[in-house]
Structures are given as structure tokens and as C-alpha cells.
Symmetry: C2
Subunit: 304 residues, 2 copies
């Protein structure tokens, strides 16, 4: 099965600390590296992670708070210095264009590649990117400023051909693609062989949801039902519930409650407040509700 | 004697590496912390250095290449989140205002302190900051875009009073300030006591020069003659001399030649190209010309 994994570059919140970097992660699906958020220092985190700079072609920005986007201009400049030629696509709230373009004009003159900024509407659930293997949808969230999460879904895969049956029915090579698409086979004698006899079901299509920053947002539950992995912000512990509410963030318990109601297979919590020297309290509070919870941490890779 | 020291936050060049951060340093003179340059990730470097965020009131930007200024917006935002009230003064080429103000308007709404941007003309040698202890002058350099270094000078200090002489002549307390300023003393009997008999000379006024980024620029030699410490960029080794010329940077040997001709007491080289995994070649080449050379390194403090 193709790789589908999430590499955490930063999982701190607004105040960077010596323990956590600002938000950023790379989602790898096969050879495609998608970046979600790009806080200050992200380019250094990529370097440490040994992920391939050059394979990042699409960057999705959840919202325009600095800890989710201040790393863009530095990363873009560095890509230029490294001789990049492939366009880089950035998906973000329209205001990013207004803020970034003057910086690109000044700092990135003469760069050999194009930066394509795509406006997204964070208030609707909509497919904003797709290629032959995956799609990315916005997930409207509930934060102090317009903000959306992202749902990355593998497209339905092809069925697996049973070699024994191919041989048995002497099915020619050129028919195989149709069988993988689920079609039945008709022998030269006119006999119909049902597809289920010739193939086995495809690998399941995996889905990953990223939800940061947000107050608890039960409205997303249906859209992300059954995701293989949910990354959800858990800025605060229960004790800071009032502070969470006031700042439109979630507690670890609230993140876990969302994971439980959407029947996620796994929950990763992140976007930790700088007040915690140790996030075990967040992990404990989340696991009390949703046992399949892990803490995000810079440098880890989570497989779907 | 008051502290006068330079704390290196970053001494890499345009491409950040896992070994070096983008340019930034804190110059401490007594309780005053001056920042010079502010590349991406500087706020994290301050945190690691345990320098007091709140005491940084003045930031001097040598030029508008990203590795010298991309850290400003993140640092300014973080100061705001930390509840700063004191204004922050930034001295830079006028273009910084154009680029930074829209970002401040968007990202720093409601911040409790003021960011005051001061335009400087990097093409002239001029005093751009002073307080009762120090002054800061621009040093025109020779780079691909307008760029200046900075000369930080302690003002002349007061003379030291000799307690034995005070006692001998029974000089009243209110006369002491004048003696420290160098005045003679006239006894109630009308006798003139020359100042040199009552005081010893003040501690020397120290000077620190920061020169990055630049091609060799002998024009600065007179202005920085005899500095106690010179920080000079040494992006390349001799082997890359042609590359240095082409990009308006210096080799380590060229930096050392400037240090020698300006009779600096000490040379610190930095702004290392990412091609060197080990800067000992740069150190060796500089020391061959100017033995009192050290390599900059993140986290070190250099005393004047």
C-alpha cells in the first residue's frame, strides 16, 4: 500500500518555545508531499526532517495567524535560492495574497519559479485540490478569524486482479484495466464472469483530517466521519476551559470528544499552549474520552 | 566596568542550515540590549539565549535581504503576546516601512505597544541612535542592495575620584560630580588643585563595529579605526573568491585584511556560506592575516 503519513514539523501554539515550533506539517501520500500551515522556522524544520524540499508543491494555510503562516516568505525565498523550477501552489484566505505579494515582489525578484496563490473560502466545505490519487477539502472551523481545517482523502482505488482466475479464464492483458475498474468479463463463448470472481476488493481509501485552530466544532463530525486519523488542536487542559472558550481554542477533552463522535480511528493532539512543560496532562485528559490518542511532537511521523 | 558584549543569535548566510541560523545578534551595553539584524527564527534564538526579550528596545537592520529581516514580524507579534508596553524602535532602509506596515496592520491589531520604524540612509555615515551611554552610527557598505554596518560606541566616561585626595583636601560631596567631569578644585583658601591630582583617567570608551553583508569596503577603515571588536562577514574561503566578488560578499582573508588595516583589537567572522560543514578553513585563512580572529557561533557571548 502506498505511503500515507503525517510528518510533524511544529505543534506549538502562538508563542514558540524551545520545545515546540510553530504549526506546520507535511502530509505524504505516495510521492506527493502536501504541506499544511507554515509557521516561522518551518524551512529549518523541513531541513531537520530530511523531507525533500523539492517535492512540496502544495501548501495549505488554515488561517492567517502568524504562527500558521510567518514561515512562508522564508521558505519561498529558500526554494528560489535552491534553484526550484516547479510552481509552488499556496491555498489560503484571500488576504494572504494582499500580504504576501508585495513581499514576493521585493524579496523574490528574479526567482526561477512561480508562486501561485489560490484563494479559498474557509466558511464552506469544498474540494480545493485534487490529483489522480487524492483530494483536499476545506473544513470550516470556529476560530477568532476565518479558519478552516483540511480533509485529505485518497480516491477510490482499483480492485486487485486474482492471477489464478486470469489464468483459468485465459483473460487477455488488455482486459485487465477494466477488471480493476470493477467490470465483469465476457468470455469469447459469451459467458459472463462476475467481477467478484476475478478480483478482490481494493485497499480501503484512507482519510486524514486536520483541525486547527478551533473551538469545538461538532458541525464537522459528519464530513470527517470515520477518518483514519484526526489531528485536532488541544491548546489547553480542562483547567483552562474558560481560556479555551474565550480564545476559540479547544481543550484536550473537547478534541477527544470530537474524535469519538466522528468515530476517528486515531487522534493526534497538538497546538499546545506554551504553559505546559509537559503535555501528559493533555494526553491523559484526551485518553479518558478517546483512548486512541497520541501527542504530536516535532520530528515524528504518523502512519495512516 | 559596565558589560559590553555581543551575543550571537545567528551567523549563517542566506540558506539556513541545521548548524547556523539566519543573521541576528544582541549587543548588550550595561542594561541596554540592542539587536542587530533579525533573520527568520530570531525569536526562538532569543528564547534559547535566555536574553531578556523585554529589554530589547532598538533593532537595527543592515539591509533588506530576507536572512536579515524575516524574523521581525514574528518577534514583534510575540512581544505583543507577551504583553509588551514599551515602544520598539526599528532602524532600517525606508523600504522596510512599506513592507512591514501592512503586516503590522493585519497581524498586530490591538497590540499594546508601538512599533516605531525609523528610516535610515545606508549610504552615509551618520549617528542614528544615542542615549546617555552609547551612540550608533551607520557604516555604508558595498552589497548588491543598499546595506550598512553599525558602529556602536560608548560615550566618553567620567574620571574616577581618588578617595584619599577627597579626604586630604576635605572636598565636600557636592563638588564630586564636577571633579568627575575633569574640573579643577579651588579650596576655600583659594588654592587651585589640578584635576589630575584628584582623579584618575576614566575607563576607555569601547567601540564595536558590525559589517555584514559586504564586499571588502576599505572606505570604512578610518571610521572604525582601533575598534575593540569588529564583526565582519566572511561568507567564503579563498577558493570561492570569484563567487564572493560576484555576490558582493567577502572572503575570510578579506575580512581579516580589513581588521588589520583598521587596527581592530579582535575580529569575529560570521555569515558563513552553507557550503562549509566546518568553518575551520575560514578561521585559518583569516588568522594567517589577522591572528586575533574568532569564529562566530550561535549561543556564544563575546566580551569587549
Amino acid at each position: 500500500m502506498e505511503q500515507f503519513e503525517v510528518h510533524i514539523l511544529g505543534c506549538g501554539s502562538a508563542l514558540p518555545t524551545t520545545r515546540h515550533n510553530a504549526s506546520s506539517q507535511i502530509v505524504r501520500v505516495g510521492n506527493e508531499l502536501l504541506m499544511i500551515d507554515c509557521g516561522e522556522g518551518t524551512q529549518l524544520q523541513i531541513r531537520k526532517s530530511r523531507q525533500h524540499f523539492a517535492r512540496i508543491n502544495n501548501v495549505f494555510i488554515s488561517h492567517l495567524h502568524g504562527d500558521h503562516c510567518f514561515g512562508l516568505i522564508g521558505m519561498i525565498s529558500t526554494f528560489g535560492l535552491l534553484g526550484r523550477r516547479m510552481p509552488l501552489h499556496i491555498y489560503a484566505h484571500p488576504m494572504l495574497r494582499t500580504l504576501l505579494e508585495p513581499q514576493l515582489d521585493y524579496f523574490c525578484k528574479g526567482m526561477q519559479y512561480e508562486v501561485c496563490i489560490h484563494d479559498i473560502d474557509p466558511t464552506v466545505n469544498k474540494t480545493i485540490f485534487e490529483n489522480k490519487n487524492i483530494s483536499v477539502e476545506t473544513l470550516p472551523l470556529n476560530h477568532r478569524i476565518p479558519c478552516c481545517g483540511f480533509l485529505i482523502s485518497e480516491k477510490p482505488k482499483k480492485r486487485h486482479i486474482r492471477p489464478d482466475m486470469l489464468e483459468y479464464y485465459k483473460i487477455p492483458t488488455y482486459e485487465r484495466s477494466k477488471l480493476r475498474d470493477g467490470e465483469d468479463y465476457i468470455t469469447p463463448e459469451g459467458e459472463l464472469i462476475p467481477n467478484e470472481r476475478l478480483t478482490t476488493p481494493p485497499a480501503p481509501s484512507r482519510r486524514y483530517a486536520y483541525c486547527s485552530d478551533t473551538a469545538p466544532c461538532p458541525e464537522i463530525t459528519e464530513t470527517i466521519k470515520g477518518v483514519d486519523m484526526l489531528y485536532h488542536e488541544a491548546t489547553f487542559a480542562n483547567k483552562e476551559r474558560a481560556r479555551a472558550k474565550e480564545t476559540f481554542h479547544s481543550t484536550a477533552e473537547q478534541a477527544a470528544t470530537i474524535a469519538r463522535s466522528c468515530e476517528a480511528k486515531k487522534l493526534v493532539i497538538g497546538h499546545f499552549s506554551s504553559r505546559y512543560d509537559d503535555e501528559s496532562i493533555l494526553l491523559d485528559e484526551a485518553r479518558a474520552i478517546f483512548p486512541e490518542t497520541v501527542l504530536a511532537k516535532e520530528g515524528i511521523t504518523l502512519k495512516l
